[in-house]
Symmetry: C2
Subunit: 72 residues, 2 copies
DNA sequence: AAAGTGGTTATCATATATGATAACCAGTAA
DNA sequence: TTACTGGTTATCATATATGATAACCACTTT
């Protein structure tokens, strides 16, 4: 897998898990303490996330980090 | 879990998986195309890894990304 | 002794993730 | 119409991860 495809897969996974919880991008962003624009960037797979950011998102979604990488 | 404990847990996990494969830090670093000093820093949990770096390490160890976060 | 292996720590420059702001679009409600 | 919600994109400053180098330690081998 190419690295950009990995970013996109992670973004898609976050989007899927977020929608599963029925919350909006801006809600999730608020729970993570950052702006909705950044959440959009993340879900679009436009950034090479750090573990800290993944951790914030997982905490906000109340899931484990491994849930993000399930089947990746 | 505090964020620094997460970094340390990930570093420990990488160390464990590396030793399981019976390779040295410097070998793993070489496979990842970076210096052994950086590998030491990573295993010590002194850095907030990016996905790209995790990906390089997993590729070098021939494991899945989710293996790094197993039980974390 | 000298050389090699495995690992740690400090330091630096450079690339880039993050956090923030603003402008924008589409759809819906008042 | 206006206002609100949900999302996207561009841009910027600042913080920091990465990549690299060097010095160092302990241990083993020659």
């Amino acid at each position: 897998m190419k690295i950009n495809d990995l970013y996109i897969a992670i973004g898609n996974r976050i989007k899927y898990l977020r929608e599963e919880k029925g919350i909006s991008q801006q809600d999730l962003a608020a729970r993570c303490d950052f702006e909705k624009s950044n959440m959009s960037r993340i879900e679009a797979g436009k950034t090479n996330l750090t573990i800290k950011t993944v951790y914030k998102i997982c905490s906000a979604l109340n899931i484990k980090i491994s849930d993000i990488f399930y089947d990746i």
